[in-house]
């Protein structure tokens, strides 16, 4: 913690060449996402990139309070997520990851901003672009890469793959393949939370493509009718696979689509805007029932690894967003503006992250594939007593 007090006092250049304390640098084991206690460093106020736009609600202020620790945490966590996704891209091309792989790079601010505003007792549920949300909910790199590669050490024991990450202790309900199906499920979680009376909420995330699913409106109606603490987060990255939002939706103002349900439009590339909005939404949901947050965000990769991402949008558009709105760059500028650490130290952090990711991949590669008997486990509760036929010959029966 000595370093942070030096930050606070803005001492000489000499003081700044020391590395950051361990609390901000984590091992490949358990991570603590901006949640450990300790010296937070100086507090300051950050203005969000654009004002919030409200639908049937008074939008929160653009001024967001933050601390040096939180800012550094945002930088580190988003850089880690970015690095992880890029590494996953490489692993997929090397055919170590097979099947489907939907990458989140560009959208990291939504994951970190949301996490900063809530607790692990609040629930998050999302669709298949879930690697980074898993990380922000307490997942570690080894179990991420192992699951991607279908290995035993994976968070779902290698049985789920890219689209099915879960973390019970972190309040992360996954990881779903069927578009839109996770939203009614999320509202159901909120329903349960209302009974528990623990002042917790559920964030049900979905994309602009899923926004046109009928089941979403069914869930929204019930949530509003029963005043459930459900917060619907539409991660609008403007393309449902290859279809631009204006070609799929009569009204791409997703935050307004709840009609009688209030909504807020948020710059999803600004981690502080996301944090402010989620904090506001949690307070709102606990008092008044459901609210929709539309996160205006962008994904650099295509829909999945099978999609180059350039047949339905121009490379100019992608590089423009990278230049103007990249979430990590935004935070980097803030860090340098407030003189928290030097640019060189930020580069050091990035180098360290690269190594961390590489180490995690190496460790994950060591993990074996699940045992073939795992094919039959977890279909029903253990000990259900049903017979299933064995792997090779009909004569081999297994009791599950």
């Amino acid at each position: 913690m000595a370093m942070l007090s030096r930050l606070a006092s803005r001492s000489s250049h000499l003081g700044r060449t020391l590395l950051l304390p361990r609390s901000l640098c984590c091992s490949t084991g358990g991570r603590h996402f901006a949640s450990s206690a300790g010296d937070e460093g100086p507090t300051f106020t950050v203005e969000t990139s654009v004002p919030f736009v409200g639908h049937r609600c008074e939008p929160p202020s653009r001024e967001v309070e933050t601390t040096a620790k939180e800012l550094m945490g945002f930088f580190r966590d988003m850089s880690l997520m970015r690095r992880m996704e890029i590494a996953a891209d490489a692993l997929y091309k090397a055919k170590l990851i097979r099947g489907f792989c939907h990458l989140y790079d560009g959208q990291e601010a939504v994951a970190v901003g949301m996490e900063a505003a809530i607790t692990r007792k609040d629930a998050i549920i999302t669709a298949y672009r879930d690697h980074c949300i898993f990380l922000s909910r307490g997942g570690n790199l080894v179990e991420t890469f192992a699951e991607l590669m279908g290995r035993r050490a994976g968070c779902s024991n290698g049985k789920g793959g890219s689209m099915h990450f879960y973390k019970k202790e972190g309040g992360f309900f996954g990881g779903h393949g069927i578009v839109g199906a996770q939203v009614p499920l999320g509202c159901g979680l909120a329903f349960a939370q209302k009974y528990l009376r623990e002042e917790t909420v559920t964030f049900a995330m979905y994309g602009d493509g899923a926004a046109n699913q009928g089941q979403l409106f069914e869930a929204l109606n019930i949530s509003a009718l029963w005043d459930l603490p459900a917060i619907l987060i539409c991660e609008n990255n403007h393309y449902g696979m290859g279809t631009a939002e204006w070609r799929a939706a009569k009204s791409p103002a997703y935050y307004k689509r709840g009609d009688y349900v209030p909504g807020l439009k948020v710059d999803g590339m600004d981690a502080f805007a996301v944090k402010q909005a989620c904090k506001f939404a949690k307070e709102h949901a606990l008092k008044n029932g459901p609210i929709i947050l539309e996160m205006d965000t962008y994904r650099y990769h295509g829909h999945s690894m099978s999609d180059p991402g350039s047949t339905y949008r121009t490379r100019d558009e992608i590089s423009n967003v990278r230049q103007e709105r990249d979430p990590i760059e935004r935070v980097r500028k803030l860090i340098l503006l407030h003189d928290l650490v030097s640019a060189a130290e930020l580069k050091d952090i990035e180098k360290e992250i690269r190594k961390e990711v590489d180490n995690a991949i190496a460790e994950a590669k060591e993990s074996p594939l699940p045992d073939p008997s795992e094919l039959f486990t977890d279909i029903f509760v253990k000990g259900c007593g049903t017979e299933v036929y064995g792997v090779e010959r009909k004569e081999n029966k297994i009791l599950i």
Binding site: K95, R98, G99, F100, G150, G158, K159, G160, G161, M163, H164, G177, I178, V179, G180, G209, A210, N212, Q213, G214, Q215, G240, M241, G242, T243, R247, A248, A249, S306, T311, Y312, L369, P370, P372, E374, L375, F376, I379, T386, V388, Y389, V391, E392, R393, K394
Partner: protein
């Protein structure tokens, strides 16, 4: 999808490429197929998605009230089955829908109820469940409940199904059995490009609601000579792909190629197998199967869908009912395991040629 399909996962699927390439040359299998098509011969070598594409072009050309729609069909579709359609027929006849399967199906029922041919695409059969209500409760029963005053016979739903090597839980399912259980629907599954073109045109023109399952593994992998012209293959008519005397094998879609390999292996051990492609699962050609079973006295059914409650169960029960005294052995079913379609365990889950060969031998030696 394209890249992935070419680099198939399991060894025996990898061998399919060799066998399929053989179809374009002169193997005895090809000759018998060409004979069965009676005058349908020649044409260019095409893969499955191109054959389906040709069928769609012809369907839209020959009926000005035919429409093709679904998710991403405009640019050609995720499997390229709808390439060139919007350029040729315009946005009013070929168009994208938002991401809503229930909407797509319901919309298709409505369009068909007004006398149009609605060719709806569900991007993966795994996503068909939100549309299940519309298909089962609306489409299948429309003619019946209106006393023939209305019908939506013009509806054809096309959807890719089946294993692809790495599809996992939600890109590999075979849900055909759910729909076979619904009176009022037809379910058709082609095994190859030339079959697909003829069957799809027949489905589109059939005055009943049809679901056309396309084996996605074969979209690029299967190459066959497909005639250029407009032709249809009869529905509810099974085809004997290979004649034999010791055991009857019944299957459909991509699984037939696996069964074919098993038949070759069994042949070497002196077992003569008769292989039947059912083509239409409902209403299915009971007569053809019974004639065959009455000849051989043994039956084996194979499909990728899980064994319990799969369509093989219906075939087995029906054959037992009608051919009981002729049967020399219990009906064998070599199907997917009773698990969700797994990710890394796909080779264990699938009914591979070895499992089929084992079952053939066990049945013959019963």
């Amino acid at each position: 999808m394209a890249m992935a399909a070419r680099r198939g996962a399991t060894a025996n699927r990898g061998q399919l490429v060799g066998i399929l390439r053989g179809f374009s040359s002169s193997s005895s299998v090809v000759d018998s197929w060409q004979k069965n098509k009676e005058g349908i011969a020649g044409g260019k070598p095409l893969n499955l998605f191109s054959a389906i594409n040709q069928a769609l072009h012809i369907a839209l050309e020959t009926d000005s009230r035919a429409y093709v729609f679904g998710e991403d069909v405009s640019f050609g579709g995720v499997f390229r089955c709808t390439t060139g359609l919007v350029e040729r027929f315009g946005r009013k006849r070929v168009f994208n829908t938002p991401l809503c399967e229930q909407g797509i199906a319901g919309f298709a029922v409505g369009l068909a109820a007004m006398g149009n041919r609605a060719i709806a695409e569900i991007q993966f059969a795994d996503y068909i469940y939100p549309a299940f209500d519309q298909i089962v409760n609306e489409a299948a029963k429309f003619r019946y409940r209106s006393g023939n005053e209305f019908n939506c016979g013009g509806i054809t739903i096309r959807t890719p199904y089946g294993a692809v090597g790495h599809g996992g839980h939600y890109h590999s399912q075979s849900p055909e059995a759910f729909f076979c259980h619904v009176p009022g629907l037809k379910v058709v599954i082609p095994r190859s490009p030339s079959e697909a073109k003829g069957l799809l045109l027949a489905c589109i023109r059939d005055p009943n609601p049809v679901i056309f399952f396309e084996p996605k593994w074969l979209y690029r992998l299967a190459v066959e000579e497909v005639p250029d012209h407009d032709y249809m293959l009869p529905l509810s008519q099974a085809e004997v792909m290979r004649e034999g005397t010791d055991i009857t094998l019944v299957g459909w879609g991509a699984q037939l190629l696996v069964m074919e390999q098993a038949c070759e292996i069994a042949e070497k051990e002196g077992i003569s197998c008769e292989l039947i492609d059912l083509k239409t699962l409902i209403p299915w050609d009971k007569e053809a199967v019974e004639v065959s079973v009455n000849k051989t006295g043994r039956l084996l059914v194979s499909h990728e869908a899980p064994v319990t409650g799969g369509f093989g169960a219906e075939i087995a029960a029906s054959v037992v009912e009608n051919c009981f005294l002729r049967l020399e052995a219990p009906v064998a079913r070599v199907c997917g395991l009773d698990t969700p379609f797994p990710l890394v365990y796909e080779p264990f889950y699938l009914p591979t040629k070895n499992k089929i060969v084992d079952a053939i031998k066990a049945t013959v030696n019963y």
